[in-house]
């Protein structure tokens, strides 16, 4: 079973719809055992870092997430919460990725909203059959700095991590569930891991 983390910063329904369109069944849950026993865990998110972290800590989910052994996919705020620290609300996050989340300087319109090109660094299982330069859909005001974990980058105001990976943790700043057929390919690649 594929588990989609249920918490207070969700676009969980959109992710569930996308997973089901690909022919997989999934459930939206924050039950500790259901998450631990899932074949894959998706950690979605639209919302603010501090309220999301408070919720996760309140339910003991912070401990559960970092200890997961199966493939985990953080999306948007999910990616940011997997980092060590976010400028948004001066928030200590989960610390899977040893990198920080910064606010975009106001040199251009914020949020960064719309379709932008991702540059894929090397051939990576998450981007199998995805060409090196594809447009995907972003909506965010904070970004993950480039790091050793970066597997795809994007340029808007600065160059930032569009996707990251460390061990069994995968993450995208963009929304694969809203990125038309390219997004479906990426989500399907994750589900096939």
């Amino acid at each position: 079973m594929i588990a989609i983390l249920k918490y207070n910063a969700g676009n969980s329904a959109s992710v569930k719809n996308a997973v089901e369109r690909l022919g997989f069944s999934c459930s939206i849950t924050n039950d500790h055992d259901a998450l631990k026993n899932a074949s894959k865990v998706i950690f979605p998110g639209v919302g603010s870092a501090n309220t999301a972290m408070s919720f996760l800590k309140g339910k003991g989910l912070d401990q559960v997430i970092v200890a997961l052994k199966q493939p985990v996919l953080g999306i948007c705020l999910g990616q940011q919460l997997l980092c060590t620290y976010s400028d948004e609300g001066d928030t200590d996050c989960l610390g899977v990725f040893n990198t920080q989340v910064k606010k975009f300087p106001p040199n251009d319109r914020v949020p960064h909203m719309g379709w932008n090109t991702v540059t894929i660094k090397d051939s990576h299982p998450l981007f199998e059959n995805v060409s090196a330069l594809e447009d995907v859909y972003f909506v965010h005001s904070y970004y993950c700095e480039l790091s050793n974990y970066t597997i795809a980058s994007c340029e808007y105001i600065t160059t930032f991590s569009a996707a990251m990976q460390k061990d069994n943790f995968y993450a995208t700043q963009f929304h694969p569930e809203k990125s038309a057929s390219v997004g479906e390919k990426i989500l399907n690649n994750f589900l096939q891991l």
């Binding site: 329904a13 959109s14 369109r21 106001p106 949020p111 909203m113 379709w115 859909y137 479906e184």
Partner: protein
């Protein structure tokens, strides 16, 4: 590079798309989901569904329709029409809409913009503004353009952004339906005055109108209804044309 967005708008009445639709190969273009999927295939960057159902009674099916759209559509979509409270908006977001748009309700109660931004996040909140030029000055109109507010367009646009709107949808009533092009000067003025994306609407008639909009203003997206519904402009042809004109397009 961030791309300029092309957004078809579907007017929905009693759960069905309105305006005559000329897609010969579509069995039921009156079904919003069928038409929406067609637009997605053609390369639409986002969709807007506007509920123009007259009464709340008849609007009961709207949330169920939004949920059905969310199940089928793999690009972002905005829903608008009849949203007067955070509760109205939450029902639609929970049904799977990515953004909601508010118009008259925001003028009547500007703090609704802030409440929605706090509750749902600014990225979900589109403030739609209908504007009309009178005596060389652009003003805001509400209730489908029937009621003059006396509020200057530029001032309201700035205030809406300040209150927490994530995006503005500006429709020029002078241009809407004319097919003579977008209201470039005011769209340029508004887009330069706010730090958030602006969607331009009203006046699209030819491919060149879209090029002029993106080349001459800082707007982020163009919305149109009839030119797409009547197949006067095909989205793939439009997008290819804009690429040849060096407009950043997906």
């Amino acid at each position: 590079m961030l791309k300029k967005r092309i957004i078809p708008c579907l007017d929905i009445k009693d759960g069905r798309t309105v305006k005559g639709i000329k897609f010969l190969d579509i069995q039921d273009a009156g079904d919003p989901v069928v038409l929406a999927k067609r637009y997605v295939q053609e390369g639409a960057d986002e969709l807007v569904f506007l509920d123009i159902t007259a009464t709340q009674e008849k609007r009961k099916t709207w949330v169920a329709l939004v949920a059905r759209i969310a199940k089928e559509i793999n690009i972002p979509f905005t829903v608008g029409g009849g949203i007067n409270s955070v509760e109205d908006a939450k029902r639609l977001i929970d049904a799977g809409a990515d953004k909601i748009s508010i118009n008259s309700a925001a003028i009547k109660n500007p703090s609704l913009i802030s409440e929605l931004a706090i509750e749902l996040g600014s990225q979900c909140v589109v403030v739609a503004i209908d504007i009309k030029m009178e005596n060389e000055e652009w003003f805001v109109f509400i209730s489908g353009g029937q009621i003059a507010t006396g509020i200057k367009a530029l001032e309201w646009a700035k205030q809406a952004a300040f209150l927490g709107a994530g995006e503005l949808l500006i429709t020029s009533m002078n241009n809407d339906g004319t097919k003579n092009g977008f209201a470039l000067p005011i769209l340029d003025a508004i887009s330069k005055s706010v730090p958030i994306p602006v969607i331009a609407s009203g006046g699209a008639g030819t491919q060149e109108h879209f090029k002029d909009l993106f080349a001459q203003t800082q707007v982020s997206a163009a919305l149109a209804a009839s030119v797409f519904h009547f197949s006067e402009i095909s989205i793939p042809v439009l997008k290819n044309y804009l690429k040849t004109q060096h407009i950043p397009i997906r």
